[in-house]
């Protein structure tokens, strides 16, 4: 085989042709389909017993959550133990070649729903996570006003993608359930759809129920799966329908598929759901469809039901929604990506203050020192995945190179190393974390293909399955460590401005008081988590940034204030100010905004300003009325 290329690009093309011709990695015959496991009906196998074991794992998690509320030392070890009891036995069994297809499906669904329940056990009474309050507000506004596209001052873009809230409105309107209860049910249904769709998608591509089971488990090990992908937010529902769309699109390509038209209809409807429910998920789906189409074209797939049409429709639908409904998405998303990319560049250039300290202190972890075992498992999880990727890619090339979707997943997995780089930056960490729920759609499949072929075949099957289960558990625990700050994993006593740990009755009661006695939609300024509560339970128009882009905190922490002459004050037009006196426990906080300022005296100044009324006092929370001042509407 000789290369005779005149230009580099031709050399690359010839090399690719060489690969495709099988000179380097010859194609292997496709493995006999295991879908016909149904032939060997062995009943439910270990599913009943493992369901009970998993339930016991959930019981341990519930005990851990309860113990954590009393700051017991055994809560955290019990939490991890409960998760492992839930996860590991199912992971091992799914790796086994002995399990029947029906058992695999049951195990995957049981694990997916079981992990969803972990989040419910953490917050069984109300929403406690940041994002959930944004969507609670959108849902509440729709229910209150009976129409869509209301204004959500907390997250304006949320109101422009009200797909999820449509369903919530239907449930609440017809049943009288609370938004929380309706959300729990709907997100549970979304989890069921996601779990089943992914399993069936992986099975359809690989023609192996064992690969599908292993891939599903590896997907559930992604850093976002346990908590973030279970939250009441639009992304959760949209992701489920991405999986449904992909499954329908792949299923209809199968030569023996009945009702291709019906499957096409399902895929198109799912596209409509995704496009009207979450922006980023829809764009990620579109990018994957583009990739899939390109790969289909390159391998000259003879399948006349390729993804090209779906891709074009996705582009049209997204552009239409962006232009005519949700143009603010660009301004909303761009700063996040720009900031992350610029920080990566600065990190590469070794600029000072670029990057973040892995496992270091943060706003949510406080000064907690990450234990050595967590760091070890966190790095080991990444290492195991990176180790598995080449094997999976090799097997895809050897056995599935005629499958455009398999190749596309193989190409898509290259986004994982890139996302790891983002984790090294402050602004990119959240993007990397949120992107894991997309990237792991590819990782799960690729690594599973490699695991089944290189690790699980051969003698000593049970030992191999056990070792795999061990590795999968490391990836699972490592994912939680990387994706969920310590304060998120377990409930506990109140922590000021720490997200879920800052949701407490006094704050909720103050927010509800404002709605009842001040009415909704007042311009209210507050700090941190109080904004969430006032914007949601209080239905207030929270002023997160003053019109010039300066935040309310500058007003709050300024050592002295002359409202009649202060330009900062005059720009704000804040009608009510909510002061949390716990801010006084952080005396140097004010100096971040005004050098030399002390927090306690800064927040106390409002008691001494003429025409500022102190309307409400509940001990920690004071509400001031600023409307009597000039320049306030």
């Amino acid at each position: 085989m000789r290369f005779r290329a005149e230009k580099p690009i031709q050399a690359v093309g010839q090399f690719v042709d060489t690969l495709r011709a099988g000179y380097i990695f010859p194609a292997l015959p496709r493995r006999a389909s295991r879908v016909e496991d149904a032939v060997a009906e062995r009943g439910w196998g270990w599913l009943p017993a493992l369901s009970l074991v998993g339930a016991l794992g959930l019981l341990l998690v519930a005990l851990a959550d309860t113990g954590a509320r009393y700051s017991t030392t055994w809560a955290e070890p019990l939490f991890w133990m409960g998760l492992l009891v839930l996860f590991a036995p199912i992971a091992v069994r799914l790796a086994s070649s002995e399990a029947a297809r029906s058992e695999r499906i049951g195990l995957v669904v049981a694990l997916g729903l079981g992990l969803y329940l972990v989040k419910i056990l953490h917050s069984p009474l109300a929403f406690t996570q940041h994002d959930e309050f944004y969507h609670w507000r959108t849902a509440n506004d729709i229910i209150t006003h009976g129409r869509l596209f209301t204004e959500n001052p907390m997250l304006p873009v949320s109101a422009l993608f009200p797909g999820m809230e449509n369903v919530i409105d239907a449930i609440v309107s017809l049943s009288g359930m609370s938004i929380f209860s309706a959300g729990v049910v709907l997100m549970g249904v979304a989890r069921l759809i996601l779990t089943l769709a992914l399993y069936l998608l992986y099975e359809q591509i690989s023609r192996s129920s064992q690969v599908a089971g292993v891939a599903s488990v590896l997907y559930m090990a992604n850093p976002s799966y346990l908590f973030f992908t279970a939250l009441f937010k639009y992304e959760t529902l949209a992701l489920s329908f991405v999986a449904l769309l992909l499954y329908a699109a792949v299923r209809r390509q199968h030569p023996s598929a009945h009702s291709r038209l019906a499957l096409t209809v399902i895929a198109l409807l799912a596209l409509g759901v995704v496009a009207t429910t979450h922006h980023l998920t829809s764009y990620a789906l579109t990018m994957f469809l583009v990739l899939w189409t390109i790969v289909s074209f390159k391998i000259r797939s003879k399948n006349d039901l390729g993804p090209g049409g779906m891709m074009l429709l996705a582009i049209v639908v997204n552009l239409t929604w962006l232009v005519y409904v949700a143009s603010i998405v660009v301004g909303y998303l761009a700063p996040h990506f720009q900031g992350a990319v610029s920080e990566v560049i600065r990190l590469i250039a070794r600029e000072q203050d670029a990057g973040r300290q892995l496992f270091g202190p943060s706003a949510t972890s406080g000064e907690r020192v990450t234990p050595l075992w967590e760091r070890t498992v966190g790095f080991a999880a990444v290492g195991l995945l990176l180790l598995g990727l080449p094997f999976g890619l090799l097997q895809i090339w050897r056995r599935h190179r005629d499958s455009a979707i398999a190749l596309a997943l193989g190409v898509g997995v290259l986004a994982y190393p890139a996302s790891l780089a983002l984790r090294l930056t402050r602004r990119g960490w959240e993007i990397a974390n949120r992107s894991s729920e997309f990237v792991f759609l590819t990782i799960g499949f690729v690594v599973a293909i490699g695991v089944v072929s290189f690790m699980l075949e051969g003698r000593l099957q049970r030992m191999r399955a056990f070792v795999y289960g061990l590795c999968a558990s490391v990836i699972f625990i490592g994912g939680i460590i990387a994706g969920s700050p310590p304060a998120w994993r377990l409930p506990g006593p109140y922590l000021f401005n720490s997200g879920t740990r800052s949701i407490e009755p006094e704050g909720v009661a103050a927010a509800e008081w404002t709605r009842s006695y001040l009415g909704p939609d007042n311009r209210v300024g507050a700090y941190g988590t109080d904004n969430l509560l006032l914007g949601s339970y209080g239905e207030q128009h929270i002023v997160i940034g003053l019109s010039s882009g300066v935040s309310v905190e500058w007003l709050m922490f300024k050592p002295s204030l002359e409202p009649d002459s202060d330009p900062l004050w005059q720009r704000g037009q804040v009608q009510y100010l909510v002061i949390n006196r716990r801010l006084g426990n952080f005396p140097d906080l004010a100096s971040r905004y005004w050098p030399g300022a002390k927090t306690g005296s800064a927040i106390a100044k409002f008691d001494h300003i003429r025409n500022v009324s102190r309307l409400f006092d509940s001990g920690n929370i004071i509400i001031y009325d600023l409307r009597a001042l000039d320049h306030v509407p």
Partner: protein, 255 residues
């Protein structure tokens, strides 16, 4: 055909029942279970039957497609309702989802007449007694776990508090003020409340006793105010700590 389509007849009956209840016009009439079925199951079931009259979907695919299409109907249907005069309400939702279910069921009935059901291997669903026992035990343990978690959340030690508020009750703070106290402490509390205008005491309540979660409110008429702005201050004390101001409010009167 009748036996083969009994499922659709049940679905139509359920959907029609839900629509009739909603048309009666009483909100939240539908029991929660029926409402959840109308949103999350019935439309998807009917649409699935209409799209696949040969009943070729495997069991696990039906578990996927039925809720998927039901949620799809609600997501996309909400946009349709938004542009109607009836907007989004319990009645409009019931008509939309119920009507869609009935229409899709009728279409499915017609299509099934013309096609024969496919012979598709079904997912194994038979349950042996031992398996049923294990599944039942698992469900029970999950219920216990949820109960424990809820109990822990309800009983979590939290800082208790008392709320005091003072609000204008008349025009421009001049006529009256609304006073309020809410006891969110775990025990019965006894308070003393004093209201001042400037240095002068307007009114005092020596003892206000409130049970946990009980609220007290009062509209206090104010004396005619002086020409210069003055403040109305409310000072709340706990009877067991008479020297310590427990809560305070202040209202600037006039400008």
């Amino acid at each position: 055909m009748y036996r083969r389509s009994f499922d659709l007849i049940v679905v139509i009956a359920a959907a029609v029942s839900a629509m009739c209840l909603a048309l009666v016009g009483v909100e939240y009439m539908l029991p929660s279970i029926l409402a959840l079925l109308l949103v999350l199951v019935l439309p998807g079931y009917a649409l699935t039957a209409a799209l696949f009259p040969e009943q070729v979907l495997r069991t696990e695919e039906r578990w996927l497609v039925i809720p998927g299409l039901s949620v799809t109907a609600a997501v996309l249907g909400g946009f349709v309702l938004n542009w109607t005069p009836w907007r989004l309400s319990s009645g409009s939702w019931a008509m939309l989802l119920g009507g869609l279910t009935v229409a899709a069921s009728m279409a499915a009935l017609l299509r099934r007449q013309k096609t024969a059901p496919a012979s598709m291997r079904r997912l194994h669903t038979a349950i042996k007694p031992r398996d049923a026992l294990l599944f039942g035990a698992a469900a029970l343990v999950v219920v216990v776990a949820v109960v424990i978690a809820r109990g822990g959340a309800i009983g979590q030690p939290r800082e208790s508090f008392t709320q005091l508020w003072i609000l204008p009750a008349g025009e421009a703070n001049q006529d009256a003020v609304r006073l309020g106290i809410s006891n969110m402490e775990p025990a019965t509390m006894s308070y003393r409340l004093q209201v001042y205008e400037g240095p002068y005491t307007i009114r005092e309540w020596p003892v206000i006793v409130l049970e946990p979660s009980e609220k007290w409110e009062y509209v206090l008429a104010l004396p005619p105010h002086a020409s210069s702005p003055d403040t109305i201050r409310a000072l709340l004390y706990r009877v067991d700590e008479p020297e310590v101001v427990y809560r305070q409010g202040e209202l600037w009167r006039g400008r």
